[in-house]
Amino acid sequence: MEHLVYPTRGLSEQAFEKHEVLFETWHVKAEYAWDTGVAIGKYLDALKNGRLIGRRCFKCKRVMVPPRMFCEQCFRPTDEWVYVQDTGIVKTFSLCYVRWDMVRLKEPEIPAVIDLDGASKGMGILHKLGEVDPKAVKVGMRVQAVWKPAAERTGSITDIAYFKPIQ
């Protein structure tokens, strides 16, 4: 099958830096104002007030975080708002030494999936850990949200600065 592989031309990064090859650069302007809708709008409002809110489905009894106006398992509208705690356990995590654009970090970011107390089992959210030695992070560790001061909160997932270990 060797003859069925086209001899495609590979380039080095240098070929671009030294302009040995022609290229165009384009910065696309792709800007959005997304309607948050009912569920996520309420979630953001709660965050601004220093609280985490979920939604309960009366049929499967789950308390879901992030909240949603429909139950994706039962396919029906969800029924009521439920505040959940800002404590929980680390379900899984990583120690990430690169930023989203692959710039190297000296100290790792510690993204984790955190199962929140008061939500149904397995209902985790994505956030970051802080005030912790990266080597000490363990699956199953108990953590609590560290909130930004009320005046700095804007109604965003980043109103929680990070989660830190607790006893």
Binding site: L11, S94, D101
Partner: protein, 388 residues
Amino acid sequence: MGLRRVAVVGAGMTKFVRRAQETGRELAWEAVSKALESCEMTLDQIDCVVMGTAPDAFDGVHMKSEWLADGAGAWGKPYMRGYVGGGTGVFAPAQGWYHVASGLFDTCLVVCEEKMSPTQPHPQAAFNSIFDNITERPLGPNLLWIFAIEMNAYMNRYGLKKEDIALVSVKNKRNAADHPASLLGDPNITVQDVLNSEVLAWPVQRLDVSPVTDGAVAIVLAADSVARRVTPKPIWIEGIGWCLDTAYWTNRDLSYPTYVEEAARRAYAMAGIKEPRKEIHIAEPYDPFDYKELHHLEGLMLFDKGQAPEATALGITQRNGDLPVCPSGGLLGVGNPIAAAGLMKIAELFWQLRGEAGKRQVPGNPRRGVAQAWGDLMQVGTVVVMGK
């Protein structure tokens, strides 16, 4: 009331390279011209075209399947792009299957293209915007986060060590040394090399990961009657299946890919496979990260949960083992131009089952293989069973 039989009758591909000089449209044409050459068909014998390509953010063109259409051979033809993120490359032949099986078409050209190198500041940056726009993206997430998080969940569940997993990277990069399109084949790589490589997002290290790649692959599908005229060795698409789980990925158990199992169950049922471990002779599971091959082998029910690492250690998944896995060299070795990498696995099964894989040929006259891809937010499985 049987389903119409559909075969793969031709395949071709570009070399997989880190930065192609070719435009995406040219890459698509290169693969198409080789696929047509492989079965001595001309473009006017093609009834319709299916495109598979992952985020527009890579090639840097909105509605990029439209832009790729002429290179893909779609001028004046019915043309459609299916999209399930990283799972696209194995979904595309399934999409081609239903084009032909519907009775609307007798032949279908399936093309998968990916040019990741245009994305700046780094191709990985395209993955920031795969996360939920409101509840996750403000945290500055990157793709490695979820892989690392999932890998950690898998290791933690079964008490696995990095060494157990690095064996996959070593096997695949060694296998790829025999692939003429390969970007990262290395006949001499060792487990120690993997363990010594740069830590990106623990537990993920540099050599656990497949490389950023540009490339394209094309295959030709034909209905039974046409296939037998085109080639004495058609390879049949015996089963297809795909399954997409909830977007709320943090609400799921990440240690086992249930969506892959669901997709596999559908594909096996369609292929009449009752005992996959006995009836499948080659597997090309999706291996963008080394642990993923293990994860997927379990999802494909080819090994019990948590048992794929041991099978790997025992050499069962080597090319000359009981169940050769990724004899192509996989994404880890040949390269990972997302959608094209998935279709490369289909092309590999085509060549293996026809006995045309050259130095990579699996011994023992294999009769049936399975290819699988994965994508989205730890979320979608796509499975194709092929046989002769």
